[in-house]
Symmetry: C2
Subunit: 187 residues, 2 copies
């Protein structure tokens, strides 16, 4: 019959994801993808259909990666301390030779806006909502607080986390640590 592919689709997506994460969607050209993925345009289009197709697969991979640290939070029994650890875990997760790349999902929404890529937008809101829910559960575990306070604090932490995912790309580790410590000082 026919020849076999010389590349592994999930391996080349790993490189693509890394490139999108560093440069954003628009500033990543198909020529750059070609180079980074190590396969040529024909193969990219044969496997993923379009640049956007490669991007969607990259997003999928990203989500599976970040799931590891949300799982750690989910399984922890340290309540609010576990949430704090989640903040620090994220910084480590998104760091690449001492520089944070932020969160691929929030980066994308920030770059393209809420309207341009509805699919990504939906992914982001799914993620932020479940994160808020997760924070709520963990807060409840370690604190005796009324419903309203729990809800308010969970929402606050979620927005703070979204903020962190962006400012982490710019500010020093020192400032970020101070940021996290102050957030949790009065939790």
């Amino acid at each position: 019959m026919a020849r076999k592919k010389e590349y592994n689709e999930s391996e080349v997506i790993e490189s693509a994801m890394s490139l999108f994460w560093r440069n954003g969607y628009t500033n990543t050209s198909t020529r750059m993808l070609e180079k980074e993925m190590g396969i040529n345009q024909f193969s990219i289009y044969a496997s993923f259909g379009s640049k956007h197709g490669v991007f969607l697969e990259s997003i999928k991979l990203y989500k599976s990666k970040i799931k590891e640290i949300t799982n750690a939070l989910n399984e922890s029994e340290n309540g609010v301390e576990a949430i704090k650890k989640y903040f620090y875990d994220f910084i480590k997760f998104s760091s690449n030779n001492n520089k944070c790349k932020g969160c691929l999902l929030t980066n994308t929404v920030n770059e393209l806006g809420l309207e341009q890529d509805k699919l990504i937008t939906k992914e982001v809101f799914n993620f932020t909502n479940s994160l808020k829910e997760l924070f709520y559960q963990k807060l409840k575990e370690s604190q005796i607080k009324d419903e309203k306070t729990l809800e308010s604090q969970a929402a606050y932490l979620m927005v703070s986390m979204a903020g962190l995912s962006v400012v982490s790309k710019v500010f020093s580790k020192e400032l970020l640590n101070n940021y996290i410590e102050n957030i949790f000082k009065n939790m």
Copy 2:
């Protein structure tokens, strides 16, 4: 002698700034600028040299605009309450028919990264540093706290503000209000 310009340079920069603010640098083309500024490419290049030149003028204008709300903070005597007001003022400032466009400076750093446009990067750090300093002064006015705490809280508020300038583009007014209220709950 010669003919006079039919447009006012600071007027057309107002439109350019608005366009850059909404779409970002890369996603604003010279054709779009032409349309929005109401003058054609020849005139744009005659007046500002390049797309980047138009952008720098837009940044200049942006800074003069945001200065109004930092001035309000500077002149206030309400200490920490004035800082809180600054947070709310910013949201109002960046709102355009009920949608926040964030901060043009942080948007740009976020889009282009710290390396690509050193001039903008410098502007941003000048701004964040003076904002931190301003927060420090206002905290000092209304609180009896040791140097270290003041420094830490000022830095925390500055990073929170930077975070707000980004997340404001995405989350609802309700979530943003809750975010601000929680930040200042324990100040």
